[in-house]
Structure formats: structure tokens, C-alpha cells
Symmetry: C2
DNA sequence: TCCTACGATAGACAGAGTCTAAGTCAAGAA
DNA sequence: TTCTTGACTTAGACTCTGTCTATCGTAGGA
């Protein structure tokens, strides 16, 4: 995602300090297993650019999602999380107790598990799989 | 439905008009592909029992979920849906445009697709699969 | 019938996200 | 370089979903 800003400029984005900071927060360090909420993104962005507003963070995140640069993940009934790891398809493993999230890469094609007879005429294009359980910390004796 | 009320009574539930109406709304007609939001449940319940409160609907739904009689489904970032089809395991197929939901029963065991090396020490106990696409109505034209 | 603990109610409150009106500024034009 | 303008940002009001609390009511047992 390091050339993210390049791609965005190529898409006609006006490059503002706010957008740059949001992109940097999401891409920070290249750690691909980051799943921040909008408010967490806002907090980190505000550390670099104190006057940035919540609305701008939401707007920018929404644009990044539309552009396919970021994936929206709703694991629980709480705040959505924003996932910069949009270029390698993956699923999520979530701790039922503490909410920790890990990227996982299951084998097989989950779409293939849904026979035509179970598709009811839908044009199925996407599958989202969430594995739930206890993380080592929460399960630990 | 009468089964449900029986089971609830057996569990020590005090049988009030409000709880009865909520249970009837969820179980209404035995159509198992009902996925109502809390507010939809409230609206239908209020048609039979006008003074029923939102809080009671939320409380009752929460109790039914705890008892395993109803499943909470969060397909989008919007309101949770309450699924009375709790006794036959299934997954969901959701229309990306209109939000229509269908129950589906994929083959294979989705848990088996997650190799041990991808479990990161988690005790994985549950998988939730959401298929997305366009329903016949939304795809046509 | 009476008692009372459990349940229902209204409405305040909270979290997450959207929207609007007004001000600001990135970037192309001259 | 300066000008211009429409895209962008902002504060804060607003919506939607859900939770909580204080008070009132009643199901069901004695
Ligand atoms: Mn991820
Ligand atoms: Mn269902
Ligand atoms: Zn945990
Ligand atoms: Zn549809």
C-alpha cells in the first residue's frame, strides 16, 4: 500500500493533508493485520494533524472502500473496522471474548460449497467467512 | 410455536402477554425464513398489543437469544436481524442491493477449511458464512 | 384474595455513523 | 506568481440502533 497515494492521485484525488494522514495511519508500518475502527483512525490521525474532523475521516474511509483500497469489516454489532489489506483475499478469525482479530487464509473455495440448488437465482459473487473462538490469552488456563 | 411457549414455560419464564406476542411474531406461520429487525418485531407486536414497549421487545429478543431459541444475525452494518430458525444450522445469502436474506445450507464443513497453521492458537468453535450477490429481482433488468 | 419478585414501561442516554451549511484551499489557468 | 473555483473540510446537529434506570404493574404461588 506504499504507492497508495500514487494510485489515488492517478484516480483524480485532490491530495490534502487530511487524506494523506488517514492513508498513512491505515498503511502505518505496513503491518497488514491492522483493523482499526473509524474512531481509532481518527485518534491516530489527530495525533499528527490535530484539527482533522471525524466527518473527514469517515468520508476518506468511505472513498477508500469505494476505490477498493480498504475493506470494511463488521465482525460484531459494534463499530466497523477498516482493513488496509485489500489486495490479498482473506477471512477473519475473531476472539469471542476480547475481540482480537487475525487475518486467515482458509484453503478451498468457499463459494464452491454453495450448490446451485441453494442459490435461489441469486448471482453470488462474494463470500465472507468469520471464524470465532477464543484467542490464546482468553483461553489460557 | 406452541412448542416454543412450552419450552419457555419449562425454563421458568413468566408468561406475559408481551412475551407471548413477541414469540408469536417471530414464529408466525412457521415460515422459517423470517429475519426481522427489532423494530419490525416491535411494529408487528404492537399491531396485536399496542402498548408494548421497545425495551420489552429488546429484552425478550435478548432472552430468546440467550436461550438459544433465536439467532442474532448482523449481515450489514445496520440493525441486527432475529432469526427464529435456530434449530437447523444454516448460513445466509444476502442481496447486496436490496438486502433480501435467504437461508442456505452449504455442503462441507467450513471449519475444516481452516488449517491448524492458520489458527494462531485460537480455540475455534464457530464459523459464520455470508454469501453476497444480487437476488433475481435486483439482477434482472 | 393477597403478596411480591419479576417483568413492563417511558424516556433519558450512549455509540456509531450521516448530513448540512459555511468556510478553506489544492491545483489548474492565466 | 497570483487568481479562481469547485472540491474538500469542519463543527455540530441529527438519525438510527440499542442500553439503562426509575417507577409502575402483574403473574402466579401461598
Ligand atoms: Mn483483515
Ligand atoms: Mn436464517
Ligand atoms: Zn481474546
Ligand atoms: Zn435484491
Amino acid at each position: 500500500m506504499s504507492d497508495l497515494l500514487e494510485r489515488l492521485r492517478g484516480r483524480g484525488w485532490r491530495l490534502t493533508a487530511q487524506r494523506r494522514v488517514v492513508a498513512e495511519v491505515l498503511d502505518g508500518g505496513g503491518a497488514s493485520h491492522v483493523h482499526l475502527t473509524a474512531d481509532e483512525v481518527h485518534a491516530r490521525a489527530a495525533a499528527r494533524l490535530p484539527e482533522i474532523s471525524r466527518a473527514t475521516v469517515y468520508n476518506t474511509l468511505g472513498e477508500l472502500v469505494s476505490l477498493g483500497e480498504v475493506i470494511e469489516v463488521a465482525t460484531d454489532g459494534r463499530a466497523k473496522r477498516y482493513d488496509p489489506n485489500a489486495h490479498r483475499p482473506h477471512q477473519h478469525l475473531v476472539c469471542s471474548r476480547c475481540g482480537a482479530i487475525r487475518d486467515v487464509h482458509p484453503g478451498g473455495d468457499p463459494l464452491a460449497d454453495l450448490p446451485a440448488a441453494e442459490r435461489f437465482g441469486f448471482t453470488v459473487s462474494e463470500v465472507e467467512v468469520t471464524y470465532r473462538g477464543l484467542c490464546p490469552n482468553c483461553a489460557g488456563a
